[in-house]
């Protein structure tokens, strides 16, 4: 009735390979798009935009980026915070150096610069594997944060060492700076999220994505069947860093407005995005969204319950939140190592047969 594929015959390869092969999914996806683009901008308010939706969208981009690297290509990275900082600082330098160019182009360029930096730090991945690579990316994290902290050129010699986003607009509507509407913030992030997800989905099922997955599953075997590991690993680092750079640029320009590098892009950010990837599900675009939503909503929810309803002191609630997050990570790894995406897949399998068990 609702979720059926009986009678839904595919007559071409293109149809067989489409992202949403089941009609119900396809319709739901289009409805979601219409709601996201056509309804939400009119009803969104400042609280929801700032506390939940805008960070969710931005982290979704970062999570897609990291998921490409870890979930699709199997290269563990702990340098996400550092790469986001590259995106943020690149967009800041571009915005202040070329004020007349559109901010969209600046953000895209910031992503490109981050991709180059990511590829440079990805070079050792050809020699180093597994945990060893994780430490190599930690080098990126600490070195980049130090660099942006110590070299005044990056923050235009501002006295506080902070960077703050100047006012910029798209089609005459402010998207950065102090006078910005919630719906404008939401829309620019949404456009980037939509483009990123679409791009990531299509990259990962093409030749490039297949070579990433071959490297992930067994790099030596992949090399023997003709996958070039240099190309596959570096493109994975490049594409992943591109998305992460865009997320960093958006986080700074649209969401934070002003940022201090050690605070906004420290090692905890790397772990946050890593948790989003794990909880959402390795190697799944949908999982990236689910993980980002989960990790953005959880603190808001806990804070509302513990501080708002139970009147606990905030520091106690913060400790409790750490404890819950840690326990959840372990629980997810034990119960469902493939994350929320796998739960969703199982639910879909069940739905297809519902109400019959077999």
């Amino acid at each position: 009735m609702l979720y059926r594929e009986a009678g839904d015959f595919k007559t071409s390869y293109a149809k067989d390979n489409q992202t949403f092969p089941i009609k119900f999914d396809r319709v739901a996806y289009y409805i979601l798009l219409v709601v996201a683009f056509g309804v939400v901008p009119f009803i969104i308010n400042d609280y929801w935009a700032n506390a939940v939706i805008v960070p969710f969208l931005i982290y979704a981009i970062a999570t897609i980026g990291l998921n490409i690297l870890i979930g699709y290509c199997g290269q563990l990275s702990l340098g996400t915070g550092g790469f986001m900082a590259v995106g943020a600082f690149a967009s800041y330098k571009l915005m202040t150096a070329f004020p007349e160019v559109s901010i969209i182009i600046h953000i895209l360029l910031a992503g490109g610069i981050t991709a180059l930096v990511g590829m440079a730090f990805g070079l050792p991945s050809l020699r180093i594997k597994g945990f060893y690579l994780a430490v190599a990316t930690l080098a990126a994290q600490f070195f980049l944060v130090w660099l942006f902290n110590r070299v005044p050129w990056f923050y235009n010699n501002s006295a506080s060492g902070q960077i703050s986003a100047p006012e910029r607009s798209v089609f005459g509507i402010n998207v950065t700076g102090p006078h910005v509407d919630a719906w404008a913030q939401y829309m620019i992030c949404l456009v980037f999220v939509f483009a990123s997800a679409w791009l990531a989905r299509n990259l990962t099922r093409g030749t490039m994505g297949r070579s990433w997955m071959a490297i992930r599953d067994m790099d030596i075997a992949a090399e023997i069947i003709g996958v070039n590991p240099l190309k596959a690993k570096l493109t994975a680092f490049g594409v992943s860093s591109f998305f992460i750079g865009i997320a960093g640029a958006l986080l700074f320009t649209v969401y934070l407005g002003a940022a201090e590098v050690g605070e906004a892009f420290g090692i905890s950010k790397s772990f946050l995005v890593l948790f989003m990837v794990i909880i959402g599900g390795l190697g799944s675009i949908f999982g990236s969204f689910a993980g980002a939503a989960f990790m953005v909503l959880l603190p808001v929810l806990l804070k509302n319950i513990l501080v708002g309803a139970l009147n606990w002191p905030t520091d106690l609630a913060a400790h409790f939140q750490l404890l819950i997050v840690g326990a959840l990570i372990i629980a997810f790894l034990i119960l469902e190592p493939h994350g929320l995406a796998q739960l969703w897949r199982v639910a879909k399998e069940k739905l297809r047969l519902w109400p019959f068990p077999h």
Partner: protein
């Protein structure tokens, strides 16, 4: 004549300062080694890269201080829920008893980790286990803070602190009139001695006791060890207990040096490059790697970082060094050669 003499004096003062930096680097390296040691133990016995080692040190130190000061565990939580105003039992335990209790807590912790986490993750990929320990680290950090409170605590179990007069007065003759001897913290010297004793006893333990032999067997081959009747689960509990003990020692040393606070758990991150350099599977490697990192980052800061790069290079030097080193020797200095089979 007079000019040259003065010139050489300045040179030598700088030289002696450099030597002092070198010595202090060695001492810092000992501290890193202490943390790295716990990593190596667990990695060898279970193939798990235990990210939570640093937080274990923090937790152990918190527990020790808590017992010493007679704090009531979860006091702030209880206060928040029941509206009471509890703080402490009002006693002070002697250091030795508190250490003993802290060791017991760490053993209990090891048993719980085995029961609740490791048992369910047997045969998972190493990367999943690694992420599980990151989760464990978060959990323990929150748990420790809830249990004992998150303010910076002073840890004092009677280890001498401050400049060591003996070293200072016995090295003063090396320099000229304006040289008063090398400044070394007594605490660092104690830490070095403890580290040496710890490594020696661990080596003796693993070479000459039955449990030690079982540990080595498990490290060599899980399946073979199982088939000759070694209980993997018992071994894991033992290894995590020992790692907990090493964490306690590291926590005491770091805690006495800079107070028991959150930054203690970040030492775990510093221990990673130490392990990279030394190799994951080698106890001497952990020591040598720690010393190289300790000396390297202090000397780099002294010679290049502070004068030319604006300082604070200690934050990243260790990682970049490990990164460069790994490109040329992926298994580390003393690690077993990595053999890959298809």
């Amino acid at each position: 004549m007079c000019r040259t003499a003065r010139g050489s004096n300045i040179m030598s003062a700088e030289f002696y300062y450099g030597v002092e930096v070198f010595l202090n680097g060695l001492m810092a390296g000992v501290m890193y080694s202490l943390v790295a040691l716990g990593f190596v133990l667990i990695f060898k016995a279970s193939g798990i890269f235990n990210y939570a080692q640093g937080v274990m040190a923090l937790f152990a130190a918190l527990t020790l201080v808590g017992f010493q000061n007679g704090q009531i565990p979860f006091a702030s939580l209880i206060n928040a829920i029941f509206g009471t105003n509890l703080h402490s039992f009002g006693w002070h335990l002697p250091a030795l008893l508190a250490i003993l209790l802290a060791v017991l807590v760490m053993i209990l912790f090891a048993i719980l980790v085995e029961r609740l986490v490791l048992k369910h993750l047997v045969n998972q990929e190493p990367i999943i286990l690694f992420m599980a320990t990151i989760g464990l680290a978060y959990f323990m950090e929150g748990f420790g803070d809830l249990m004992w409170g998150s303010e910076i605590k002073k840890l004092d179990i009677g280890i001498p602190q401050g400049g060591n007069g003996w070293v200072e007065s016995h090295t003063a003759f090396l320099g000229g009139d304006d040289f008063y001897g090398f400044y070394l913290d007594s605490l660092d010297i104690v830490a070095a001695i403890v580290a040496v004793a710890l490594v020696a006893s661990l080596v003796l333990f693993s070479q000459y006791t039955k449990t030690g032999r079982a540990l080595r067997a498990v490290a060599d081959d899980h399946q073979a060890a199982l088939s000759v009747g070694i209980s993997l689960r018992t071994i894991w509990v033992i290894v995590w207990s020992i790692a907990g003990f090493v964490a306690l020692v590291a926590g005491i040393m770091w805690g006495a040096k800079s107070g028991v606070q959150f930054s203690l758990s970040l030492i775990a991150l510093k221990a990673l490059p130490v392990l990279m350099l030394g190799g994951f599977t080698s106890i001497p490697g952990a020591i040598v790697g720690g010393l190289i990192i300790g000396v390297g980052e202090k000397m780099f800061e002294f010679l290049i970082g502070a004068p030319y790069l604006g300082g604070a290079t200690e934050n990243w030097f260790a990682y970049v060094l490990a990164l460069l080193f790994l490109v040329f020797r992926p298994q580390g200095l003393f690690g077993e050669k990595i053999i890959e089979r298809v």
